[in-house]
Amino acid sequence: MRAIDYQAPTSLSEAVSIMAANGDRARPLAGGTDVLVQLRGGRREADVVVDTKKIPELNTLNLSDSGLQLGAAVPCYRIYQDSAVAAAYPGLIDAAGMIGSIQIQGRATVGGNLCNAAPSGDTIPPVITLGGEAHINGPNGWRTLPAEDFCTGPGRNALENGELLVAIQLPAPAANSGTAYLRFIPRNEMDIAVAGVSSTVQLDASGQTIQSARIALASVGPTPILATAAGDSLAGKAVSDEAIAEAGRLASEAATPITDMRGTIRQRHHLVDVLTRRTLNIAIRRARGEE
């Protein structure tokens, strides 16, 4: 790795002024599990690494009536070790508990996963289906983006020079709602998704009718994809194998995968169909309180 300067600001305003002063030569650091590998391998360059872990707003993990405020520098293990957060957002826990190894989960963050903008980022689909918003601060103040608009291409995100992702805000889970994330990898742990799907459903009080659904896909396009037509197809439908199969078919249609060393286009379309049906069924059981 070429020489860098290291800054560890203790306030958001200080961090933003360092980021703004250094433009595209500054790189925020949270868990470092992507950015340090990229800097060392020459895939990204920086003059200044800005450690965000000492900034209070980025370290917040606050569950309240208005939902979850998830600071961008909060590592995965803090999310799944918090029993109240784990109970409220099992779909997020599915993903936070499967990224990398225990060692990686001790450092890696959901905010970093979003900023790294890998199409395969496991935590991104559940953040999207849960209705997550990215809270961004920069030289021009605050702005908010829906999570599905945050990643703009492989390794590219919507942040302008000088801006920091501060937190991800998840709305409070609606009554009778559930979320699940699954990925396919050819082993049990420590691999990058060939395909991944998150589904969030909201049922009516009887648990028999789907009021609304959101489905998001990983590793089957240049960014994580919100499969809007697939989710919308379930609105107002009774829970049935046919409705779920139709959503699986539409989700598969929304995928735009490539063939690479991990899988083929055909396999990935098939996986999206299967994983959509499986995650919908888990999300429905969770919405009914059955698991």
Binding site: A3, Y6, G31, R40, Q103, I104, G106, E189
Partner: protein, 159 residues
């Protein structure tokens, strides 16, 4: 050209001061600056776990931590596992179960297994295999390592 940074940290209970460049990983600082070569470099990108250390109560890959991030932290390495009285039960059980061959991965496995067994001394085989998925071994085929950790759990439960 940024200069050297003075880092004060606690390594295996001892306050330790070192100077490093901001770009240097904690692993490089431990091995090349502090002279503690127990933690090994395997892949240098977070896949193999040979550099595993315990930092503020969590196991991490020290190759994916900057040395400057250790400022004020509590770092525990393989060098701190044995006591003056002798080997730690995990080390003893690695020896008795022949859970190592070339030995490069062993410090990482022991530091990782120690964190697990201290929190969950009754961890079962599935839990141990899941916990150790971030540690790679090219010699043993893992069975002897898993058996050694199960055995160490028994020893630690027996006190």
């Amino acid at each position: 050209m940024p200069g050297l940074v003075h880092v004060t940290t606690t390594i295996n209970g001892n306050q330790t001061d070192f100077l490093c460049e901001p770009r240097q990983s904690l692993l490089e600082c431990l091995r090349d600056v502090v002279g503690m070569t127990g933690s090994k470099e395997g892949c240098n990108d977070g896949n193999c776990g040979a550099c595993t250390v315990n930092m503020d109560g969590r196991i991490v890959c020290s190759c994916l931590v900057l040395g400057v991030e250790a400022q004020g932290a509590e770092v525990n390495t393989i060098e701190g596992v044995a006591s003056a009285e002798g080997l730690h039960p995990i080390q003893q059980s690695f020896l008795e179960n022949a859970a190592l061959q070339c030995g490069i991965c062993t410090p990482g496995f022991i530091v990782a297994a120690k964190a697990l067994l201290e929190a969950e001394p009754d961890a079962d085989e599935a839990r141990i295999r899941h916990w150790l998925a971030g540690n790679l071994c090219r010699c043993t085929g893992y069975d002897k390592i898993v058996r050694a950790v199960l055995d160490a759990g028994e020893r630690m439960r027996a006190g």
